[in-house]
């Protein structure tokens, strides 16, 4: 016993002790122990993450201020530590804000906003500060200058991990050469083992931020990326939440703080894309959930209806009663089916009409009694109506007797519930056949279970579902007013019903002003800038939604050129313009790329699955107000089906262009090979033929052009008129651009060509369109030049004009140029025209 007592006493002490030990953990302290969650799990990675956070902030700040970003990153090694400096030309941060921005975790301006930004939670840069102070013991050194200020502000600060508050070591004015901007200097225990990732991060950042100038200096070298465009990304706008993207807690919070009084007003006021119509739809869906529907049955017999109303009405003249009863019956008969409140409406309408006609007043009580008299007659149709629905919903194989029995049992549930409800105040059918979908399903299930038991037939889930659906369809929305905002806010169940109603209602996708895609043009520009390929393609999808957050996926592909052709393609992943460096294998983008059959698109893919091989870079950018990451360190995009789907479509779109390009390359290569072989064989054939037949040498260019389906261009000179004949032997129309460079002044130039003179040479440019199988003749005259008299046989003529023809706009493989002056023996020299750039 004593032992027990003492134990009890002791226990109390332990509890007390435990209670004493309980205390709040500061968020800073928590992250101090969980650095890995923020991407600071090792020295190598910590440095990359710190750079990343600082650069993200720099880019966000400059863009917000409408400034073209100019970011400078410097990493230097000093004794055992690395010093990281990141400078930007942003708007600067006011002296009051600096300590909190850098010295307090979870301090930021964007967490509550639905807007596409790089940083969101306000953890990143302060986490870097925290990491720096933990590993090196030195404070962060921050310099910031706002535009127009005389001096810059200089701070040295650390984060007090107990209180998650900044602790300022030094604060003073300083001079700085930048007119505005922010500079942060962090010393940390780190290493450069992740140099590859660091450089990739900077390079990839340059790809998706073609408007930024970024410079990186580190102990082993430097990297500089100039801007490819002066166009800032479109400014984003904050949007209100979308009805499909809120959680219950958020909704309740919003209900609590809204100024709106009605649900409809609240929906339209607080959510994006909700207008009167959507609000009405949500409300209707909400009423169905909140109040249920009133089922409508076939109207009763007219005579029976008149009689019932007659019996129900007392103390009125016979004629007036008759008029009222007939009016009620006629109105009731107008319906195909009617529910309880429609009967009441019919009675009210009849009352007004009868009052007008007879002068006798039929008040609320009479209307109510009439309604209660007619409703039981309506309800008599239940069984027949149920039968029709059950019959439609079940297979024809079902026995008629079983169908009838099932319909009867379902109909009977309504009656049974009236009895229950008289004692129970719960809001079920009320005798008015008013019920929610779930209750209705309950009736059907119970009736079906009984049928299964008694009649030994199966009534499957699909059939039950269909019957329930059929009955729900004949239900009418109730006219009751929805609960007021206050009431909903106070009742979690009601709020839940509202949330479900919002989710079930079709609402237009959220607007996309909140998003700032790079746009396919700039994706191309970015890839061109950073990767030396032969071909680039890009695709920007339209905005889509996941969980109420709009998102846009963009994809780009660079191929060929100087890109590494060994091994698999390079995959560049971006979220809100931030390169994702780590955890490639866990990322939705990687999964999607692996699942695509790349052989279809002309890339090698061992085994037909996985990352394709070849000299290619595939980039994917997901922009969203809320990119779903797999973890706080924001390294990998989570496998959200909607996003994966869009990624796939974007990549496939870009890959289609690649496929077309590769296909064309292949056919051009084949054509080149064919041309090479034929160019060797045919002249020999011609020589031999001339031999055998003892005739003159043959000119075979026409035949060769025809064989190659080529565009053949020939120059002939006759009486000072120069003719360029463009024969199109290909199957499609061709629009070559011809530039004739002639050393004598031309005149009488045909086909609206432009002429430019430069240093005694005339550049004549034509761009004819030649239909398949036809030819175009481009002409000009050379008169009064030199001693040319129409014959080119004057060997003494020293100012014989020279010609040079350049052809573009048609693939070089498809052009045969035979433009040697006629004075020379016709040869088959093919001037290789400038290769047209592929797009």
């Amino acid at each position: 016993m004593t032992a027990f007592q003492s134990t009890l006493g002791e226990e109390k002490d332990i509890a007390g002790e435990l209670a004493e030990n309980q205390r709040a953990i500061s968020i800073a302290e928590f992250f101090e122990k969980n650095k890995h969650m923020l991407g600071f799990d090792s020295g190598a990675r910590g440095l990359v993450t710190a750079v990343k956070e600082a650069v993200d902030n720099a880019l966000d700040a400059t863009e917000e201020a409408g400034i073209l970003p100019d970011v400078y990153i410097d990493i230097s090694e000093s004794s055992n530590y690395y010093t990281l400096v990141v400078e930007d030309n942003g708007p600067g941060i006011t002296a009051e804000e600096v300590p909190r921005v850098f010295g307090k975790l979870l301090y930021g301006s964007r967490f509550h906003k639905r807007e596409q930004k790089r940083g969101q939670q306000g953890i990143g840069i302060s986490a870097a500060v925290l990491y720096s102070q933990l590993t090196s013991g030195t404070p962060a050194k921050i310099t910031s200058r706002t535009a127009g200020s005389e001096q810059a502000k200089y701070f040295e600060l650390i984060i007090d991990t107990d209180s998650n508050e900044p602790e300022i070591y030094a604060e003073r004015e300083t001079t700085w050469d930048r007119p505005h901007g922010t500079r942060i200097e962090l010393e940390m225990d780190a290493n450069m083992r992740a140099r590859g990732q660091l450089r990739n991060y900077v390079k990839h950042t340059a790809v998706v931020n073609p408007h930024a100038r970024i410079e990186l200096r580190e102990p082993a070298g430097e990297f500089k990326s100039e801007r490819a465009t002066d166009q800032l990304p479109a400014a984003t706008e904050e949007i209100r939440p979308h009805p499909h993207g809120v959680e219950l807690g958020t909704l309740i919070k919003m209900l609590g703080t809204t100024d709106s009084y009605s649900v409809s007003g609240f929906l339209q006021e607080e959510f994006t894309r909700v207008g009167q119509k959507s609000a009405a739809n949500v409300l209707s869906s909400f009423r169905d959930r909140q109040f249920g529907r009133e089922l409508a049955w076939s109207p009763p017999d007219r005579e029976a209806c008149i009689e019932a109303v007659h019996d129900a009405v007392a103390n009125k003249s016979k004629e007036a009663t008759e008029t009222f009863a007939v009016a009620v019956a006629d109105r009731v008969r107008e319906f195909d089916r009617l529910c309880h409140h429609e009967v009441a409406e019919a009675a009210a309408g009849a009352a007004t009409a009868a009052t007008e006609e007879t002068g006798t007043t039929f008040g609320d009580t009479v209307q109510e009694r009439a309604t209660e008299a007619v409703w039981p007659l309506v309800v008599e149709s239940r069984e027949a109506d149920c039968h029709a629905i059950v019959n439609d919903a079940t297979t024809s194989r079902k026995d008629e007797a079983v169908v009838r029995a099932l319909a009867r049992r379902i109909a009977a549930k309504f009656n049974a519930d009236i009895g229950d409800d008289e004692t129970d105040d719960d809001n079920t059918t009320d005798g008015r056949d008013r019920l929610t979908y779930d209750t209705l399903r309950g009736y059907v299930d119970r009736a079906a279970d009984t049928t299964v038991e008694r009649d030994e037939v199966a009534v499957g889930d699909t059939a039950r579902e269909k019957i329930t659906e059929g009955l729900w369809e004949i239900g009418r929305e109730v006219p009751d007013d929805p609960p007021k905002i206050r009431e909903i806010a106070d009742d979690r169940d009601t709020a839940g019903r509202l949330l479900r109603a919002m989710e079930a209602t079709d609402v237009m996708a959220p607007p996309t002003e909140c998003l700032s895609p790079i746009t396919d043009e700039l994706v191309l520009a970015g890839l061109r800038k950073e990767f030396d390929g032969d071909f680039y393609s890009a695709a920007t999808r339209n905005a889509a939604v996941h969980g109420g957050d709009p998102f846009i996926v963009e994809a780009g592909i660079a191929y060929g050129g100087e890109l590494e052709s060994e091994g698999s393609v390079d995959l560049l992943r971006f979220a809100n313009r931030v390169p994702l460096v780590y955890q490639r294998g866990a990322c939705a983008t990687t999964d999607v790329i692996k699942s695509i059959g790349w052989r279809n698109y002309g890339l090698d893919q061992p085994g037909g699955t996985g990352l394709p091989n070849g000299p290619a870079v595939v980039m994917i950018h997901v922009a969203s107000t809320n990119v779903p990451f797999t973890s706080e360190s924001k390294d990998a995009i989570a496998n959200v089906p909607e996003i994966e789907h869009e990624i796939e479509l974007a990549v496939r779109e870009a890959a289609r262009d690649l496929k077309a390009y590769l296909k064309k390359q292949r056919s051009m290569r084949k054509r080149r090979e064919k041309q090479d072989v034929l160019a060797a064989i045919l002249p020999r054939m011609a020589t031999k033929l001339a031999d055998v037949t003892e005739r003159d040498r043959l000119d075979i260019d026409d035949s060769l052009a025809r064989i190659m389906n080529n565009v053949l261009i020939e120059r002939t000179i006759e009486d000072n008129r120069v003719k360029l004949v463009v024969e199109n032997h290909s199957a499609t129309n061709e629009s070559p651009e011809l530039t004739e460079i002639v050393s004598a002044e031309p005149s009488g130039i045909s086909d609206g060509a432009s002429v430019v003179e430069m240093d005694g040479e005339w550049f004549i440019e034509w761009s004819p369109t030649v239909e398949s199988g036809s030819e175009a003749v481009l002409e000009y005259a050379l008169d009064g030049t030199g001693n040319s008299n129409g014959n080119n046989d004057d060997d003494g003529g020293s100012d014989e004009p020279s010609f040079d023809l350049d052809v573009s706009g048609v693939e070089s493989e498809k052009v045969t140029v035979n433009a040697a002056p006629t004075t020379e023996p016709s040869s088959t020299t093919t001037t290789p025209p400038t290769p047209s750039t592929s797009e």
Binding site: V677, M685, K688, L689, V692, L698, D702, R706, I707
Partner: protein, 381 residues
């Protein structure tokens, strides 16, 4: 072309050499004309093309007038449009050059020599990859120029087939004319048929019919048993699928000496094709059918019916045998009641027999019983 050669054969002129030269000039001209056609196509800026009849079973049709099978209307073209076609044409032109030269110099060469000769051509692209290619090309040229290979002075490597029987002939040899009696002036091996049988004149013939024999063993048996003497038989040894010269001389024996032609082979589908090429013309040289085929030739055996009737030792049909028989049922040349019946019978009994199987009844059975019976039944004896 057959008229040309035939008239040549019938010309008993004083100077056959001069006649031959005209022939050579004609052949040469036609080759050069073909080259000129290519030249003109080039000169007009067109793509040089050579159209030739498709040489497949589905593109041969019966020529009612001549009673032989010739090529139909389907043509395939060798065009410089493709790398393949251009190579073929280049080779054709080089070959034309070679043949024209050979004719001008009155030399001759074998098909195999042509193949090796191409190795010496300066243009690598014009060289032949294998002999099939050069053989085929010569056939193409034969068809397009309507000049037979022999008139290009192209010989097959060896023909080797022989004649034995009561016939006196005169052969134009390089060492002058020779008169030869095909029994008295030859050894046991018989008279060697020359590559161009049109250099032979028939002088004197005591034979009653021609018997073409597939295998050497059977031919030797007939000679040993004196069948040629006893029955006045011209025994032609086919040596398997007969060479053109063998088929040509057979046709001449029939046409000029009015001898019935009978074909005696093994009883299997491959042997029926030997008969087919003698009687109807072969698919590969259907362009020469009028010149080579003897439509009146008749099949002696071994018939599938004989296998049953004489209860000959047999081998079972292999899969390829059955396929060959099925194909023959679809071959337009074998669409006669007789062949349909025989082939269907063979498929049914699923057996084949060699000529030598007759030896199971004794060495003399074939000369004393089988052939006399068959030939009587066919109204030859």
């Amino acid at each position: 072309m057959s008229t040309d050669t035939d008239s040549d054969a019938e010309t008993d002129g004083d100077d056959p050499k001069a006649e031959a030269d005209v022939q050579d000039n004609e052949a040469r001209e036609r080759l050069v004309d073909l080259a000129a056609a290519f030249y003109d196509q080039f000169a007009a800026g067109d793509v040089p093309t050579m159209a030739i009849p498709t040489r497949t079973k589905s593109n041969i049709e019966y020529d009612e007038e001549a009673g032989v099978w010739v090529y139909g209307d389907r043509e395939s073209s060798r065009s410089a449009n493709s790398v393949r076609g251009a190579r073929k044409l280049l080779k054709a032109i080089y070959t034309i050059d070679f043949l024209a030269q050979q004719l001008a110099e009155d030399r001759s060469s074998t098909l195999r020599e042509l193949y090796y000769l191409s190795e010496s051509w300066d243009e690598k692209e014009a060289q032949f990859a294998d002999q099939d290619e050069s053989n085929q090309l010569v056939e193409d040229l034969e068809i397009v120029t309507s000049v037979a290979r022999e008139d290009f002075h192209m010989r097959p490597e060896e023909s080797g087939a022989t004649l034995m029987g009561p016939l006196r002939l005169r052969e134009q040899t390089r060492r002058g004319e020779r008169e030869i009696h095909c029994q008295e002036d030859v050894g046991e091996g018989g008279y060697q048929i020359p590559n161009d049988p049109d250099t032979i004149d028939f002088l004197d013939c005591d034979a009653d019919f021609v018997l073409c024999v597939e295998t050497g063993g059977m031919r030797d048996r007939l000679v040993e048993n004196g069948f040629d003497d006893d029955y006045g038989t011209m025994i032609v040894h086919l040596k398997g699928q007969p060479a053109r010269a063998t088929r040509r001389i057979t046709k001449r024996l029939h046409d000029e000496l009015d001898l019935p032609v009978l074909v005696f082979t093994d009883g299997d589908p491959w042997s029926y094709r030997i008969y087919g090429s003698i009687a109807y013309g072969s698919i590969k040289s259907a362009h020469l059918s009028e010149y080579l085929a003897t439509p009146e030739a008749r099949f002696v055996g071994i018939q599938p019916a004989d296998i049953v009737e004489y209860d000959l030792p047999t081998d079972p049909l292999s899969d390829s045998d059955r396929n060959a028989l099925e194909n023959e049922l679809k071959d337009p040349r074998f669409q006669t009641g007789y062949w349909r019946e025989q082939i269907e019978l063979q498929l049914e009994i699923d057996k084949k027999a060699e000529q030598q199987a007759l030896a199971s009844r004794g060495l003399d059975f074939v000369t004393d019983t089988y052939l006399p019976e068959r030939l009587s039944a066919m109204g030859v004896l």
